[in-house]
Assembly symmetry: C2
């Protein structure tokens, strides 16, 4: 049987352009003992992918090699099995890549509980939810009554961060790039306040929304929000640096704030990436499933159609054009 896959054949300069990729048509191989054949149904597109395309030796995981199928997580169905732990019809989540079919030995795959939709998995139980949980709960150690600001709040990670923090009893302020997104955060997700970071009076709005200062900042974007929030951090505040999407497409990243206030206010700034925490994933998925079952975590999927829609579609993440967790339905 023939299927399509997309290989990375060139590394990005500043932007992700169609010439970085090559679509190939392959034959599904015969599987051997200990293997399964997966048919992917939903493929996740995440900002981290730009890093995976780039050959930065100091980065946190090895880049995708040129000529390899592009890396991504996704949901798939087992359509053939010679593996004792997997049956035909099982649904799994894992790093499957930009491909319609894949052969696996089961390593790194997690089986899905029945009744959980593929959208819920990619929005909550996969990278976005895990990233939010690791950063906010494990690193940030939020306490009820504290004030959290999250940038990129309408994004896949940011929307989970804000809802987890609300569930933990914090006052939550989000920033986003449109009034529509802000309304969604306030009206649907229960944020205490949402601010359009493109407003002329961003600093005044932030001051008005955080009369007691800011204890926790979850950084997804960089850009102007970073400086406005940094200046309002309280003593012993924690900043969790997860993403800097405003700077991923610039040749010279904007400078950060002076470190003087790191001393004066005894701040801790921590950067993290999920690959350091894979061992904790099963436990974190369980925690997230509990919040999800309790109705604490709403989500919105932005679905593209067909494998090749990923090539242009991934740029929506960097222009802010997506309205929800970006994924491809196959």
């Amino acid at each position: 049987m023939q299927y399509k896959a997309i290989k990375l054949v060139k590394r990005p300069e500043l932007r992700i352009t169609p010439d970085l990729f090559e679509t190939v048509t392959l034959e599904t191989p015969a599987i051997v003992d200990g293997q399964i054949l997966l048919k992917q149904t939903h493929m996740s597109l995440d900002p981290a992918m730009k890093g995976w395309m780039t050959d930065d030796r100091k980065s946190y995981i090895p880049p995708v090699e040129l000529g390899e199928i592009m890396r991504s997580s996704g949901v798939a169905e087992v359509v053939e099995s010679k593996h004792e732990s997997f049956a035909v019809g099982d649904r799994v989540v894992g790093m499957i890549g930009w491909t319609e079919y894949a052969v696996s030995d089961g390593q790194g795959l997690n089986k899905l509980p029945p009744g959980v939709s593929a959208e819920a998995v990619l929005c909550v139980l996969a990278l976005p939810g895990l990233t939010a949980y690791q950063g906010l709960i494990e690193i940030g150690k939020p306490k009820a009554g504290e004030t959290l600001v999250v940038s990129g709040a309408a994004g896949s990670v940011g929307s989970m961060v804000g809802q987890l923090a609300k569930a933990e009893g914090l006052t939550v302020i989000g920033t986003a790039g449109s009034d529509d997104k802000c309304r969604w955060l306030e009206d649907e997700l229960g944020f205490d306040s949402a601010i359009n970071y493109k407003s002329d009076d961003l600093a005044e709005q932030m001051a008005g929304a955080t009369p007691n200062g800011i204890d926790l900042y979850f950084e997804n974007t960089g850009g102007p929000v970073q400086h406005v929030v940094f200046n309002r951090m309280n003593a012993h505040g924690r900043i969790i640096v997860c993403g800097m999407i405003a700077d991923y497409n610039t040749a010279t990243p904007a400078p950060g704030p002076s470190w003087i206030n790191i001393i004066k206010r005894r701040l801790t700034i921590t950067g993290f990436t999920m690959p350091d925490h894979w061992d904790d994933v099963p436990r974190m998925m369980q925690e997230l499933a509990t919040y999800l079952a309790a109705g604490k975590l709403k989500y919105r999927a932005h679905k593209l159609q067909g494998l090749e829609s990923a090539i242009e579609g991934i740029n929506l993440l960097f222009t802010g054009g997506n309205t929800g967790k970006l994924m491809v339905e196959l």
Copy 2:
């Protein structure tokens, strides 16, 4: 008996100028039960004092009120006692202030062990040593074999940081502002390498001195060293932000590095100040006394003479003009 003291009467703009202070002549009061009269012999001058003179409500300790005697730590002798825990002749260290005599109820004073000089106390067992210990050992958690860079390495805190790190088995590189200071660090204190940060080829020298990258950075200065070191941090590196002396006398502090590498290299940046850790001081003093007795901590005192020499002399800390821990001998 008459004595002199110096009050803070005005807050600094950018620089510490003589008109901020007023020298007054006072009478030693009669002490009552539970009090002691102290005659100060050595008074410490520290960069943190500039913060204490400034009315920044978000700072870590309340400023010195206008009209109050300027705050400082020092070594004193008990010359009169109506306190059961202190005898005439006891030597103590504590926050005594810019004054020749002071009355105390003993709170916050630590008695000195016999045989330890006042210079050793102010250089090692007081603010510089305690700050170095708290930042390097408690926050930085250094491991033998790691590489540490400390800026302001010839300063009172920096010289202790580097020596503590050597004692713990790290490779230690210091930066300082003159070739003389660098020679002292290498030849007398046993640093693996010392770099004059005013060199044209600072980045090249740093690369040469840290072939395996940098695991720990102890920041005392800000300025050009910050960016050069930041770019060489290893994955899971820790940065301890203790001082930013290059920026204390500027109206607009220089920006810090972009936060992108905080993510890519999973860095943790922590600011701290000693007043959050007073409860640990007795234990830390004991630890430091052990290093001192083992000959692991050398020090150099830069002594000014007479109370009023503090007024102009404190600026040596901001021009780099001092050659050792700055103090006033009374």
